[in-house]
């Protein structure tokens, strides 16, 4: 994704980032690390600012984005502000470093998402870790390898060209003499900052990167040893709960805490509309908050699902919200041989990460440390600094690898609550949101209304395309199909519910609308849906995934029949190419849709870890089933009506189709991020398959048979 698009995507939601630079002095850093070799990446200057030996006491370059340290004990430590949330980046980034450094992957420790130890990072979202952090780490690792060879050459007084690095050692190819990396760095303080584009090892020559290695620390997940944010305990830690308002936009009218105050060792914290409790054990805290009697003034007649789409269309946000007309597209639409006009909708959906928001906050004087699950540790650090009016340098946020996020944990509400309560009692406090809190007080994937008008020739050539999206977002909005006249617009609107990022963001909604519409056009020109797409497409990578998925699926081998349908959809976003074929069984009498089989073809450049990638793509398909068939946040008058897993249905074992993931490894292309786009193909393919089975078009997600 281009930088401007990333900023647009970020700016659309709640995320406002101020850039803060890391202040640690390089000498301090080497002291912390106990000497050795340190390579920093300077993303700004075109040439290395400083080369060779010795710490010269300069401050770190101001755009340092990551660093790699090699200790005398041969231990390699990589520091990055990215975080591990189940997407397996801890493993795949280590593979990339191991590849360029020529070391076993097991010798690498990744320090991630700790605002005191790692460089500033905007956050882990937008499928950016692999395409941006990956090359940065590779560059540093390569530089480290070159420095080690240079240092060994000086020590042995030989020409570096006779030396080679492999398996954590530099060896003299002529006499067999060798030293481990740690031995070379012993007693040294080697530092270098690098930039530019050194010659990285091409993917075609990768040995460690590109391999299907298991997830780092896998044993800790099957033994329960891994410590998630909600598992953190601190000496003397107490448990906090927050009293939630009776609805959105509510104000506190009256409060009676007398019953709660009588509970043992319980403190009530009341500050404006914020009411919280702290107790020595979690169940007393729960009891205390349930015994508080509060009256809330909830504004009546707030928007519900019923008025949602009318509201979105009639409440533009700012100037960009209003629609502009494009005369040439209107003309092309008017003169087209075949015309089609439809609208599509998506509901608000919840991320529902299995680990809800959780934080432990601890004050030491005016310094605050918070362990919390977030995709933006530095963003949460700044939120905390602002909330408590202290400098960001006084706040440390530590992000233990968490129980997933899917774009849902960008913000720091829970961290602020824990810190507020910890400040009140002078002890560390843990706050873990309940499932109902998570379903109500987190934010949602935006709902959206999408209008598409199109024109085609009778021979199946697309000639006009108009795609207007209200509220859900601009991701994946541009059509990859060839069309001479097009008008694609995103209209920000006011949102009745708090909304934010989500896996793939609006790419799901925009692909749903576009790929359903393409199917409808194919139908009206009497062409096979795959043939129609390929006819209007020149992008060879999208061609390849569509043809691969179709071949593996056996597209066209069996015709759809009543109650049994096949559908296809494809797309590209954030550098990932996806095509999805599905087979559905529909029982109109029972209003039941059962997805029987899914084949997804995926291509995102050179594959860093096919094992992790396959797992992730499988997960994207499974998660997509929820949004396609049953997930929707039900709301009315400022309240969420389905804030539990019993009412908000997510995909389960019984919903599983047979799923086949076909990975296309393009070693000649840079690796793109793969966490998100795999989710976009399923819903339109299901809609198209339902049409093939029933003759009914379902244009609203989730798709429910009438």
């Amino acid at each position: 994704m281009p930088a401007d698009e990333l900023i647009r995507e970020v700016a659309q939601h709640e995320i406002q980032e101020r850039i803060q630079w890391f202040q640690l002095d390089r000498r301090d850093f080497l002291r912390l690390c106990g000497g050795g070799l340190l390579v920093l990446l300077d993303g700004r200057s075109a040439v290395a600012q400083e080369a060779g030996r010795g710490s010269r006491g300069h401050e770190l370059p101001k755009e340092v984005s990551a660093w790699v340290h090699i200790g005398a004990d041969d231990k390699i430590t990589v520091f990055t502000g990215k975080v591990e949330i189940g997407q397996n980046i801890r493993t795949s980034l280590a593979q990339l470093v191991a590849e360029e450094l020529r070391v076993p992957v097991a010798s690498i420790t990744m320090v991630m998402g700790d605002t005191d130890l790692t460089p500033w990072d905007m956050g882990t979202f937008g499928s950016r870790s692999t395409p941006t952090m990956g090359p940065q780490l590779r560059t540093m690792a390569l530089t480290a390898r070159q420095m080690l060879i240079e240092a060994a050459a000086q020590r042995w007084k030989v020409d570096p060209s006779v030396l080679a690095a492999a398996d954590g050692r530099v060896s003299n190819l002529k006499n067999g003499q060798s030293l481990t990396y740690g031995e070379i760095t012993r007693g040294e303080k080697l530092t270098q900052s690098v930039s530019g584009d050194p010659p990285l090892t091409p993917a075609s020559a990768w040995k460690v990167a590109g391999a299907a290695l298991p997830k780092a620390g896998g044993r800790d997940f099957v033994t329960g040893r891994h410590q998630y944010p909600s598992d953190i305990t601190r000496p003397g830690m107490m448990f906090g709960k927050v009293l939630r308002p009776g609805g959105f936009n509510a104000t506190l009218a009256s409060l009676d805490t007398s019953a709660a105050e009588k509970l043992p060792a319980t403190k009530i914290v009341h500050d404006g509309d914020f009411v919280g409790v702290v107790a020595e054990d979690a169940s007393t805290a729960e009891q205390a908050v349930s015994q508080i009697k509060a009256k809330w003034n909830v504004p009546p007649a707030q928007i519900s699902n019923r008025e949602l789409f009318e509201y979105l269309r009639s409440h533009p946000e700012g100037e960009k919200g209003s629609s502009s007309t494009n005369a040439s597209v209107m003309q092309a639409l008017a003169s087209a041989e075949l015309k089609l006009e439809q609208h599509y909708t998506v509901q608000y959906i919840a991320h529902a990460p299995l680990e809800p928001r959780a934080a432990v906050a601890e004050w030491n004087g005016d310094r605050l440390t918070v362990w919390t699950g977030t995709q933006r540790p530095f963003g949460v650090r700044d939120e905390l600094a602002e909330a408590f009016r202290i400098p960001a340098t006084k706040v440390r946020v530590i992000m233990p690898d968490m129980g997933s996020g899917y774009g849902g944990k960008h913000t720091g509400e829970c961290a602020i609550e824990a810190a507020r309560l910890a400040k009140a009692v002078g002890k560390p406090v843990s706050v873990v949101w309940t499932r109902e809190e998570e379903f109500t007080w987190a934010y949602f994937r935006p709902a959206g209304w999408i209008e598409i008008r199109s024109g085609a020739r009778r021979d199946g050539t697309l000639v006009a395309w108009q795609h207007h999206n209200y509220n859900s977002g601009p991701s994946g909005i541009d059509t990859p199909y060839n069309v001479s006249s097009k008008d694609v617009q995103f209209h920000p609107t006011k949102s009745p519910l708090r909304q934010g990022s989500y896996r793939g963001l609006a790419a799901t909604a925009n692909h749903f609308a576009r790929e359903c519409h393409m199917d409808e056009l194919a139908c009206s020109v009497g062409m096979d849906p795959l043939e129609f797409r390929l006819k209007n497409l020149t992008d060879p990578r999208l061609h390849a995934v569509l043809e691969t998925a179709a071949k593996q699926f056996g597209w066209g081998r069996t015709k759809s029949s009543s109650g049994h349908g096949f559908g296809i959809a494809g797309g590209v976003e954030k550098g990932g190419y996806v095509a999805t074929c599905v087979e559905v069984e529909v029982n109109p009498a029972a209003k039941q849709v059962k997805i029987r089989r899914v084949v997804e073809a995926w291509e995102s450049g050179a594959i860093v870890n096919p094992n992790g990638l396959r797992n992730q793509q499988m997960g994207a398909v499974v998660q997509a089933i929820g949004g396609a068939l049953f997930e929707a946040v039900q709301f009315k008058d400022g309240r969420i009506l389905n804030p539990h897993f019993a009412e908000y249905r997510v995909p389960r074992f019984s919903d599983m189709p047979e799923i086949e993931i076909v990975l296309i490894d393009r070693k000649d292309l840079p690796s793109a991020g793969a966490g998100e786009t795999g989710i976009v193909g399923l819903a339109p393919a299901v809609s198209n398959a339902i049409f093939a089975a029933t003759g009914t078009r379902l244009r609203d997600m989730p798709m429910v048979l009438a």
Binding site: I85, G86, Q87, N88, P214, K215, G218, R219, F221, V222, T223, G224, R225, H226, Q227, Y228, S230, D231, T233, F239, D281, A282, S283, T284, Q287, A352, P353, L354, E355, P356, D401, M402, G403, S404, Y406, V432, T434, R435, N611, N615, Q616, M618, G619, A620, V621, V622, Q623, H644, F645, A646, V650, P651, R652, F653, S654, M656, I659
Partner: protein
């Protein structure tokens, strides 16, 4: 506050907790056995699953004081002399997790299932496991792990957790 004892992973623990406190809360917040997870508190997600006398049970809906006479096994109690149980080994071999937060509950539900059906059919797997949510969508790999675990148990190569 009530005083009672719980037999967890073969060890007797004296517990002092309110009479209505859940087993999940006792495990996590009093004994720091944090491998058992909170996912919903309503018996809808399976993240808190433990074995009570061998049967998969939602610890979030179980009053701790009510299981004083039972044998409770949590994820921390499945290993034997440092080696993984067949189910744990199968989950690791198949890498049946992404974020891993559901994994403890999945492993204990599987352990209970295999006690009842040593070679479960697909339908038996769905029936036994449908109450466990994996939000990362790793279900197909979990099914593969369940089948692998059944084979490992048959071979008896790894230890058997009760």
């Amino acid at each position: 506050m009530n005083d009672f004892r719980l037999n967890i992973n073969g060890t007797e623990f004296p517990i002092r907790a309110p009479g209505d406190e859940t087993l999940l809360s006792v495990l996590r917040n009093r004994l720091h056995l944090t491998g058992t997870k909170y996912g919903c508190g309503e018996g809808q997600c399976g993240a808190c699953t433990v074995l009570i006398d061998g049967t998969a049970t939602r610890s979030c809906l179980t009053i701790a004081a009510s299981v004083g006479g039972a044998k409770i096994i949590t994820i921390e109690g499945l290993e034997s002399h440092g080696s993984l149980s067949p189910v744990q080994q199968a989950f690791l071999d198949e890498e049946s997790f992404q974020c891993g937060y559901c994994t403890s509950g999945m492993i204990l539900s599987t352990t209970s299932l295999l006690r009842e059906h040593s070679h479960p059919t697909d339908q038996q797997i769905i029936e036994a496991m449908d109450g466990n949510i994996c939000r990362c969508g790793t279900y197909p790999r979990i099914v593969a792990a369940i089948k692998r675990a059944a084979q490992l148990q048959e071979k008896g190569g790894a230890n058997h957790a009760s």
